[in-house]
């Protein structure tokens, strides 16, 4: 059997292009069976969105400006959430450079979320409820998580697997842009780009050399695999 090549899955988010529309959030909910919690729970601070738009305001009315920061699991190469898990529920896939979450192993110590500087891990406070007709569109490729376990963005690992296997069957290398996580596929201004950084011809490899690039909280040494391109005045 042919070997899967080593990957370095990376997402580039151009903050100049992001309009904060939230389409990625909806797409992610639909793709990954992310539970939709009640309004009251959201107010209590239990909103559950694997990707969410953090909105920061700058200045005072009327000279006010919004900054949007789409935030998802940064798939750190040296993830702080991994070593603190006592049951190996959050583990690293060296081959794909992905940070995996094994729901069935999780006992819910919530230590990973405490040690996660980006706060992009979510705890299932209750059993998920999918009201009619949402229950009709659950994705069969993704586990529905029970109460008491942690979950987070997987870079749509089910799509990665499917594309890799398809390429393997057809005995050809995986094309750039063949794997599209739900958020990337949906983003109307194409602010989100996904690909393999190990492939020198990929779009992400090209964008990763951009002058505007930065990684979130880079000083912590977590080596995130999400690259942001600075927005605001930088392009002027």
């Amino acid at each position: 059997m042919a070997e899967f090549p080593n990957r370095k899955w990376t997402m580039v988010i151009d903050l100049d292009k992001c309009t904060g529309c939230g389409a990625c959030v909806v797409a992610c909910h639909a793709e990954n069976n992310v539970p939709i919690v009640t309004e009251q729970e959201v107010i209590r601070g239990r909103g559950q969105h694997w990707i969410h738009i953090e909105r920061y305001w700058e200045g005072d009315f009327p000279d006010i400006k919004a900054h949007f920061l789409p935030l998802l699991c940064q798939q750190c190469s040296r993830a702080p959430c991994e070593p603190v898990c006592p049951v190996y529920a959050t583990v690293h896939s060296e081959r794909e450079n992905l940070n995996l979450q094994v729901y069935n192993r999780c006992v819910g110590t919530r230590y990973c979320q405490n040690n996660d500087p980006y706060k992009v891990r979510f705890f299932n406070w209750f059993d998920p409820v999918f009201e009619e007709p949402l229950n009709q569109q659950l994705n069969p490729d993704v586990t529905v998580r029970s109460a008491g376990v942690m979950e987070k963005c997987t870079f749509c690992v089910q799509r990665i697997r499917r594309a890799e296997e398809a390429a393997l069957v057809e005995n050809r290398p995986l094309q750039d842009n063949e794997v599209l996580p739900a958020c990337v596929q949906t983003c109307p201004p194409a602010a989100l780009v996904f690909g393999d950084l190990n492939d020198p011809n990929s779009q992400v490899a090209h964008l990763a050399t951009d002058r505007r690039k930065f990684r979130l909280l880079e000083e912590l040494g977590t080596e995130p695999q999400v690259i942001y391109l600075k927005g605001g005045e930088s392009h002027v």
């Binding site: 729970e41 209590r44 601070g45 239990r46 909103g47 953090e54 909105r55 920061y56 920061l69 935030l71 702080p80 991994e82 070593p83 603190v84 898990c85 006592p86 049951v87 190996y88 192993r105 999780c106 006992v107 819910g108 110590t109 919530r110 230590y111 979320q113 405490n114 040690n115 500087p117 980006y118 706060k119 979510f122 705890f123 299932n124 406070w125 209750f126 059993d127 029970s146 109460a147 008491g148 376990v149 942690m150 909280l217 912590l220």
Partner: protein
């Protein structure tokens, strides 16, 4: 025991004719337990009699406290059924009152071993009647504390997945995680503490066996493991206690250091601090010693142990408490000074919250209880030897230390690197009930134990009384002490 107040064992010197000297001797006897020997039978009775008594008040307290423990159990079941969502936990405050309780009760469990092991090693004589009460408190507090990491799990019924044993899942727990270090340290400490307390209990169980009939006799017969009091048994017990005393001190220091690592090893601003290890150990001893004083005061009143627990013991413990208060002040000052010098924006925010934000009442109450009140009162011998006053001071120390852990866990967790995720934790009913239940569990276990376990180590008191004496040199009275060999 009152009519035998002036009974003196026959082997002691008769009272001197000189009235002055006789007064002095009387005074010393009143002050010091070890200079006030009684017949062994009377001492045994003094310990055993209260164990047979279960008054109306005892049952009333038992029912109340037992009810609160049952409320804990019911709340826990509800929480397991519906999910942790019924508590006040939220993003980003993933740990709150359960972990506060965990740290607090581990802390309370620290003083017991310290008093019986460290003071034993240092040959501090006044520890003798206290050690049992302190050791039992350690065991019960540790049992309660060990429940909390399980209560706080999202899937409590899977807690055994954290235990290292060969299993069908073909997976060993990850020893990268401080939680596993924690588990190992606590289970080591708990088993050592139980063994340590049990070895010291053997002669007392044997004593109880010899004084009882019926089911109690059978029970103590089993528990005393056939102790007869031969020289070889005493020698073995002495060796075992010495080994445990020296061995358990490093374990005790390591346990709370490791508990602090649950926090210090993370990236969370306000937790990520190297001072946490010693700071937590001192904090644990501080709250633990205060808890032991409270237990001593309650046991003394409830079980009429006035002969054994005298103001001198409270005085010694209170001095120790004052010392620990100063040490705690020093570490807390460090914990504030270093982040202040670093001017980290998140830590600055946390400090601003403490001094002027929504947590400021908690913060100032903590400073009052832990810093100002002990320093303002415990210098005075009148406070140190007045049991009600000391009880109030210790109660404040408990409150202060509980609030300190509250500030460290949910308050600090509310602030992190990205301000979008900041949040304020509020208390909900389930965790409040479970917290009350935890205090009730310690009280309940203690109540039950007080009727089964001799709360005063009779053999230790007796040994101390044999070894200590007053000798008259010229017109002076000199305290003397022999070394057991």
């Amino acid at each position: 025991m009152s009519e035998r107040q002036h009974d003196r064992p026959i082997w002691r010197h008769p009272m001197p004719k000189d009235e002055d000297l006789a007064h002095q001797i009387e005074h010393e006897r009143e002050q010091h337990l070890l200079l006030d020997p009684r017949y062994p039978l009377h001492i045994d009775e003094g310990v055993l009699d209260p164990m047979y008594r279960q008054g109306r008040l005892f049952w009333l307290v038992c029912v109340i406290v037992g009810g609160l423990v049952a409320a804990w159990g019911a709340t826990w079941l509800v929480q397991m059924f519906y999910g942790l969502g019924i508590t006040g936990l939220k993003r980003p405050v993933m740990w709150a009152l359960y972990i506060v309780n965990f740290v607090y009760f581990i802390g309370v469990g620290h003083a017991g071993t310290f008093i019986s092991a460290a003071l034993r090693v240092l040959k501090v004589e006044w520890r003798r009647p206290i050690s049992r009460a302190a050791e039992t408190l350690t065991v019960f507090a540790l049992i309660t504390a060990a429940m909390f990491p399980i209560v706080h799990l999202g899937r409590s019924w899977k807690f055994y997945w954290l235990l290292p044993y060969p299993n069908e899942r073909q997976i060993w727990p990850s020893y990268h995680s401080p939680l596993l270090w924690d588990l190992t340290a606590i289970l080591t400490y708990l088993s050592c503490s139980i063994l340590f307390a049990y070895i010291a209990l053997l002669p007392d169980f044997a004593m109880a066996r010899d004084h009882t009939i019926g089911w109690r006799h059978t029970l103590y017969d089993i528990l005393s493991l056939g102790w007869r009091g031969t020289e070889r048994e005493w020698g073995n017990q002495e060796t075992a206690l010495n080994v445990f005393s020296f061995g358990i001190i490093p374990v005790m220091f390591s346990v709370h250091t490791i508990v602090s690592w649950d926090f210090a090893m993370t990236l969370q601003p306000g937790w990520h601090s190297t001072v946490f290890g010693p700071y937590f150990v001192i904090g644990a001893l501080f709250s633990g010693v205060a808890a032991v004083i409270m237990v001593m005061a309650i046991a003394r009143k409830g079980m009429r142990l006035e002969y054994f627990l005298r103001p001198e013991h409270f005085d010694g413990m209170a001095k120790f408490l004052l010392l620990l208060s100063f040490a705690w002040d020093y570490f807390y000052f460090n914990d504030v000074l270093v982040p202040w010098y670093g001017q980290d924006p998140v830590e600055k925010t946390i400090f601003a919250l403490l001094t002027g934000g929504y947590v400021s009442p908690i913060f100032y109450l903590m400073i009052f209880s832990n810093v100002i009140l002990p320093a303002a009162t415990l210098w005075s011998k009148r406070v140190r030897t007045s049991i009600p006053a000391l009880f109030v001071v210790c109660l404040f120390v408990q409150i202060g230390m509980y609030l300190e852990r509250y500030i460290i866990v949910p308050v600090t967790l509310g602030q992190n690197y990205l301000p979008f995720d900041w949040g304020v934790y509020t208390l909900y009913l389930p965790e409040s009930l479970i917290t009350v239940g935890a205090f009730a569990l310690v009280a309940f276990l203690y109540l039950i134990a007080s009727r089964f376990i001799p709360l005063i180590p009779v053999w230790e008191v007796y040994e101390g009384q044999v070894l200590q004496g007053l000798r008259r040199i010229g017109r002076a009275l000199v305290k003397t002490r022999a070394e057991p060999d």
